[in-house]
Subunit: 297 residues, 2 copies
């Protein structure tokens, strides 16, 4: 079975790194990832550079891409201004994210959940008119640093409202890395039941990320976000690690017989290159241990 | 459901650390683990100190234990000499390990697989006479650094021979951390079919450890090895990490509704204390990120 892997390292990974990489280096990262077989890359974040300095120069990142046929370059947006910029910069796909809890929504993007749901519908319609791929990510769907545990029922209610506009994909995000496979199964099956394509976005903050990813696939998810080298972190847990590492995910997926179109050896080289750019060891494990020939593909 | 967790940090964790801890500190580690609710602890390895200097002074470790009621203190042995020492030192349980591949068996403990199977029977009989708990671990059951992929059929043949002497428990070990959940299910179900109690021992070398642990439980395993802080490493992959971290495992297990009898907060404190003793950050993730109140117990 084919699994869609969305590489979010250039965006979610790097936006949580202390060291700021130039737009040129971030574009080069995207280019190397595409060469390793990644066919969907979240290349840039169209947020205000004052809020996330690591993501400044999104337009330069986009113009630095050597576009490969068959590769989808996505941009994250949090509002209409960001949507306008993303379209102007030439993204193939817009990903809009908002938190499912009121406190996080207010603190992270100064909105309410209801307003955010409205905006998701508006952006979905605009993307349809503009002929762009569009997806919605529900942040902190497995737990919130401010409100604690998030009830699955509440997430599914929000998902149902968002699904009315039929985005191409609805992504459940464990933004702070607290989820376990039991929660994943409940949420993925619930959202799947709404008739939309389900993606999942896991952080490996508490080492549950790979187990969650497999549970998501077994429950009907078709797409998984991951970041090369496991870059990134969690602003709410200073010593914690970030997204699940793409190469760790790919190692497991290939071992389980899933197809990804990604060359693990090349991806490990990209992780090593990125570690040099950031001047530090990254949390990913496979790039340090190496693959294992008879299992890894 | 109750899951048995065997803490192997004082043995498998520390035997792969560069820094050698004194027997006093290792005994103190066992004592702190017991206070955190660990009820089975692999406290020492009765191998020759020339071969594994990190494990020198097994007898001193044993005599430094503040024995708690209900806690089982185990020792690892690789031969009869080790068995004699373990009994003299007062272990409650002997764990005998041997590799399932010829090359690893010769290089690691200068034996053949057939000889090792014979010895497992002999030690099982001796342990029965001595009134001690006894278990057998099959090393490199998921892959061998010298011989590559290990066929499940071969592992199950060896397990069937070992099972004839009915050890208390048969443990499948992914010594170099290459296994994926699909393999785990096949092996655990196969060994379970022999009528023995199945344990699993996973390394998190390639970030598959927690997913493997859950797959093992879902397939009928009742016991899991883990090491506090995820200490240890892999002699065959110098930059790689060691066993699955006990606190990462416990976080996941509690989130999934399994009972362990372990207090996660206290265990995190032990991991932090051990990191200080070793003078480095450990690979475990939960001790750095912290638990999450509504999920972690």
């Amino acid at each position: 079975m084919r699994v869609g892997v969305v590489e979010v390292g250039p965006r979610d990974g790097l936006q949580n790194e202390e060291k700021v990489l130039s737009p040129e280096v971030r574009a080069e990262l995207c280019n190397r990832l595409a060469e390793a077989g990644l066919s969907r890359i979240e290349a840039a974040s169209f947020v205000h550079p004052r809020l996330v300095p690591q993501m400044a120069g999104a337009e330069e990142v986009m113009s630095g891409l050597r576009r490969r046929e068959g590769v989808i370059y996505a941009g994250l947006v949090l509002n209409e201004k960001g949507y306008d910029r993303a379209v102007a910069a030439g993204v193939d796909e817009v990903r809009y994210a908002f938190p499912v809890t009121g406190t996080f929504a207010r603190r992270n993007q100064n909105t309410t959940v209801e307003e955010a749901i409205q905006l998701s519908g508006k952006l979905a319609r605009r993307a349809r008119e503009d002929g762009l791929r569009f997806g919605v990510t529900l942040s902190v769907a497995f737990g919130c640093p401010f409100e604690g545990k998030v009830e699955a029922q509440r997430v599914l209610e929000i998902a149902a409202e968002v699904a009315q506009e039929m985005p191409g994909e609805l992504v459940l995000a464990d933004t702070i890395g607290v989820g376990v496979p039991g929660q994943v199964r409940e949420l993925v099956e619930g959202v799947k039941g709404l008739g939309v394509k389900v993606g999942c976005h896991f952080h490996d903050t508490r080492n549950t990320g790979i187990a969650n990813a497999l549970a998501a696939l077994e429950s009907g998810a078709e797409v998984l976000d991951a970041s090369v080298g496991g870059t990134g972190g969690c602003p709410f847990a200073p010593r914690a690690t970030g997204n699940i590492a793409t190469e760790d995910l790919v190692y497991t997926l290939h071992g389980m017989g899933y197809e990804t179109g990604i060359d693990l050896g090349s991806l490990i080289e990209v992780a090593s290159w990125l570690a040099e750019q950031l001047g530090k060891e990254l949390p990913g494990r496979v790039y340090k241990a190496g693959g294992f020939a008879p299992v890894a593909g």
